[in-house]
Amino acid sequence: MSSKYDVLVIGGGNAALCAAISARRGGASVLVLEGAPKFYRGGNTRHTRNMRCAHDAATEILTGPYTEDEFWEDLLRVTGGQTDEVLARHMIRESKDILNWIVEQGVRWQPSLGGTLSLGRTNSFFLGGGRAMLNALYLTAEKLGVDVEYDAEVTDLVIEDGMFLAARLKRPIKGETEIRATSLIAAAGGFEANIEWLKQYWGDAADNFLIRGTPYNRGSILKMLLDKGVQEVGDPTQCHAVAIDARAPKFDGGIITRHDSVVFGIVVNKHAQRFYDEGEDIWPKRYAIWGRLVAAQPDQIAYIIFDSTVVTSFMPTLFPPIAGQTVAELAGKLELDPAALDKTITEFNAAVRPGTFDHTILDDCVTEGITPQKTHWARKIETPPYLAYPVRPGITFTYLGTRVTKEARMLMAEGKPSANMFAAGEIMAGNVLGKGYAAGMGMTIGSVFGRIAGREAARHAKN
């Protein structure tokens, strides 16, 4: 058969491209199969903007050092210890070199974006964002002679005894419906866009979830691998979710549908009741909890309510706030019970204690005598127009994945390493990130393990 490659990469995002480039630089012939059309190539990478890498000194774009230990402590904190220390420390060590390696692949850095100063020391931002990063990686891959196919959906994997043999295709490529390769790198992401799969854990609530990335993140490769005996890792029921504007499109609204105004007001559910402390924690840690909180509310909808005094305190939003000159008018527009909303706001305002407002620290503006309490940044909502953003859970990624070794080699269910199957990116992120998230970590996992997987896959193929 003519079309046998040394390395087959399934997926088309950061991890897949780093793997393809690394394998090609290792001397292997490489084919990349991206299931999405060209415009939507790259899965969640399209919507990313930065990467978290350890570094011992400030750089042109990073304001100070971020040591391996500090990175490890951050990872430990966000995951609550649900991480594989050997793998995680290995990744953190390798991340140092990625800062330079990724530039050699054509990606350009810039200092942290406006409104993200808190990440200026730890995270390197892609000049032009995630799609610019992808464009650079694709150009480099193609220049090196990596073959890339779009709309290339894989329908089945032929795996025997932990050994990858071939991938079957929905549409023929160069006349073939089956591609054989000496090594496989699975870098095809999670299943966050697969509503039916999400429903297994979330029930009908998943129908009200909005998916922040493309509709192509269906997890079909992950499912095939797990069905064929690869060991799983990560909690299958969990996904990373943030609160995003309820008016966002079902798929691919990306970063611009997010809201970060929770701390400036209150959040109520469809019964106009508050349900959680809006002032619990500082950005970006608080950012990730609200998706899950809203998912637990009836009809998976909530409303951030604030007043005209804070409008310029947060980044401008894609969708304008819904406004009312009175609480009743606002309630009417939101289709909430006006009396209930009025009662909630009145009680909240009465509970607000005097304090010195400062949204950059955990300040002393608190409420007393109401449940839930607002423990920071509590100020009265009393200056019309009254404003609101409707929000729903926006699903970013899932945690379920394939277990891998330090060489990014998949482990089979019985604990034996696969002979020729490697994984990188979101599809194996659960090894490092059992739960939680810290900005830029997904890209670190993708680039580091992509590069390793490519190197190891090429080494296997060339032996």
Partner: protein, 368 residues
């Protein structure tokens, strides 16, 4: 709501972009956008003229078509920019010249050249028109120097007046206090930014043209054209000084400063516009304002014609073709001057003003 559809669309896009900001490192447009939360007509016209149309933000955007957010900043700002030229044109009665600009420029150019040819023919004997003239004052055997100087000074001064009035309207509309002046530092910064085409670079890798592989060809051709134009202008200025200060009359020998400057400039004005024209015809249509094709090509053609007739005149000035070629060259230059305020030429003026404004904003932001 804004005055026009395109400004409404530009407002929609800037609202999308302001909630994303991934492109802020690519050029000046996005940092300028981030200094605002709402956009007046003037703000949008300012951003439109700040855009150099490198195309990077389109290729890098996760929301560009076919995404339903349909974000196409280069094209939208290109249309807004072109409409702003007409909106600020002085006198307003002539703003219609922008509507079918290619046609207007061609007619003016053709008329101008025809009038010079016919005028030369009517005022000179056939033997003089087609005769061989050499040595100082040769050109003025066909058209007296004072007549030439008066005519071109008038055309040039009119162009300056119209441009000043237009850019004044723009300057006010983009929010500079009336009577407010640009400081020297901002002007110097803008001269540097314009001189090196700092923002025609796709954030460092080059412009996006026919595909997703960036390169610097448009920048190179623009440099050839712009600096060619400046050199030609310098040649004319030096020659004017020669004439009035030292009484030295054109034509000058090939090694003399006006001819050297003019020759170098002329080469730039021939090669540059050809390159720009080819780049334009190959550029991905989704990045282009096709409606303004005539305006863009009209201006490129005028520069090319000026360069070409000038170079031919230099090469053939000692033959019988000198007379007709001089007429053609003067016709081309005259047409170039009088159409300056009503064609693509103005892009440089408005963009420069926008760059000054941007430099001011950056300085006041850094100072605050």
């Amino acid at each position: 709501m804004h005055g026009t559809q395109i400004l409404d669309e530009a407002d929609r896009l800037m609202t999308v972009c302001n909630s994303c900001r991934y492109c802020e490192g690519l050029c000046a447009v996005f940092p300028a956008m981030e200094m605002r939360r709402a956009f007046s007509d003037g703000d949008l016209n300012y951003l439109a003229n700040l855009c150099h149309s490198c195309g990077a933000c389109y290729v890098d955007c996760q929301f560009s078509p076919p995404h339903e957010f349909n974000v196409n900043v280069p094209k939208t700002l290109a249309v807004a920019r072109a409409e702003s030229y007409a909106a600020y044109a002085w006198p307003q009665a002539l703003s219609g010249a922008f509507a079918r600009n290619g046609l207007v420029i061609s007619i003016v150019a053709a008329l101008s050249m025809a009038v010079f040819i016919l005028g030369f023919a009517a005022l000179n004997d056939r033997s003089v028109l087609l005769g061989v003239h050499t040595g100082p004052g040769a050109f003025y055997k066909l058209m007296p120097h004072n007549a030439m100087a008066a005519l071109f000074s008038a055309a040039f001064l009119y162009a300056i007046l119209a441009l000043v009035m237009s850019v004044r309207a723009f300057w006010r509309d983009i929010g500079t206090p009336i009577g407010g002046r640009a400081d020297g530092g901002s002007i110097f910064q803008a001269i540097r930014d314009a001189g090196e085409l700092r923002y025609l670079h796709g954030g460092g890798v080059g412009c996006y043209n026919e595909d997703d592989k960036p390169n610097d060809r448009r920048k190179l051709y623009h440099h050839l054209t712009f600096y060619g134009f400046l050199l030609c202008f310098a040649a004319t200025s030096v020659a004017t000084l020669y004439h009035y200060l030292w009484g030295r009359e054109a034509p000058y020998p090939w090694w003399d400063l006006p001819v050297v400057l003019g020759t170098l400039g002329g080469i730039g004005l021939i090669v540059g516009p050809i390159g720009l024209f080819i780049a334009k015809s190959r550029r991905a249509p989704e990045l282009l304002d096709e409606q303004r094709y005539g305006m863009d090509v009209g201006f490129i053609a005028m520069l090319f014609l000026t360069g070409l007739t000038g170079m031919l005149l230099l090469l053939l000035r000692e033959t019988g073709a000198m007379g007709p070629l001089l007429a053609l060259h003067l016709g081309a230059v005259f047409a170039l001057f009088i159409t300056m305020p009503y064609g693509k030429f103005v892009h440089g003026i408005y963009r420069f003003a926008a760059l000054v404004r941007y430099a001011q904003e950056r300085r006041s932001e850094a100072g605050s």
